[in-house]
């Protein structure tokens, strides 16, 4: 009758391939923390990244309006479908070449909306200046839509006094961008 000897003592030092004799059961046979000095993170648990998706688009056509009520800015619109109702949407829009008519009382207004819901609003930008300033205007918002349906985030603009107000006015201030990121809970 053949006899099999099984080594039951703990392995120490460098483990050879022969000693492994198969695979290691990671679910129960590995413990401890891999130090940073050995290429580990030093962490005792794993926290996955929170940015689940990121989308963006840009536009470099000059857009101007005299509308005193808000109109969509063509090219600064982006759709995203959250993977969970608990996700947040981080929205960043950089509007370049912002200018209004040569009047100290005229100004341009912006809105960020999700479909028809107002997310962020800024009014009377450029008020008090009579130069074509070509400002860069940032819009940042963290939205909690509680939805897994497709959502469209878009920028709108209007003019304070029905004179022409513009974005993407002149190069190099002529490319605006909108970026949306789904942030996991």
């Amino acid at each position: 009758m053949a006899l099999t000897v099984v080594k039951t003592s703990a392995l120490s030092g460098t483990i050879t391939n022969a000693q492994l004799a198969g695979s290691i059961d990671l679910t129960s046979k590995v413990t401890g923390t891999l130090p940073t000095g050995n290429g580990g993170t030093g962490a005792t648990s794993f926290a996955p990244g929170k940015v689940l998706q990121a989308l963006g688009t840009s536009d470099n056509t000059k857009r101007s309006t005299s509308s005193t009520s808000f109109v969509d800015i063509t090219g600064l619109s982006i759709a995203i479908t959250p993977s969970s109702t608990s996700s947040k949407i981080y929205c960043i829009c950089t509007i370049k070449g912002v200018a209004s008519d040569n009047s100290t009382t005229d100004a341009i207004n912006f809105k960020l909306v999700r479909d028809s819901t107002l997310i962020s609003e800024a009014t009377n930008i450029t008020y008090g200046n009579n130069d074509q300033l070509n400002l860069t205007y940032p819009v940042v918002a963290l939205d909690s839509p509680s939805s897994t349906s497709e959502l469209t985030y878009k920028m709108q603009f209007s003019s304070r006094l029905a004179n022409s107000s513009s974005i993407n006015n002149t190069a190099p201030h002529d490319r605006s961008e909108i970026v949306v990121m789904e942030i996991g809970a």
Partner: protein, 73 residues
């Protein structure tokens, strides 16, 4: 003064305080027909969202009339 600056001054001469949105430049009848969104009113949505149309609702504003004013500038 750029062509678009002239367009804006000219159209306000033809009809003061007209409300519109221009995408790009207006240098021809084709641009006038295709690159303008006209504001016709305001909805109650968020209080101040425009109702718009791509069809020119102002009979007195024509490319010919606007171009004539642009040429004077």
């Amino acid at each position: 003064m750029t062509n678009l600056d002239k367009f804006w001054k000219a159209i306000m001469i033809v009809k003061a305080n007209v409300e519109l949105t221009v995408n790009g430049d207006i240098t021809s009848q084709e641009d006038f027909n295709n690159n303008i969104i006209w504001t016709t009113g305001t909805t109650v949505q968020n209080g101040d969202t425009a109702t718009t149309t791509t069809t020119n609702p102002h009979s007195e504003i024509t490319w010919t009339a606007v171009k004539a004013e642009m040429d004077k500038l």
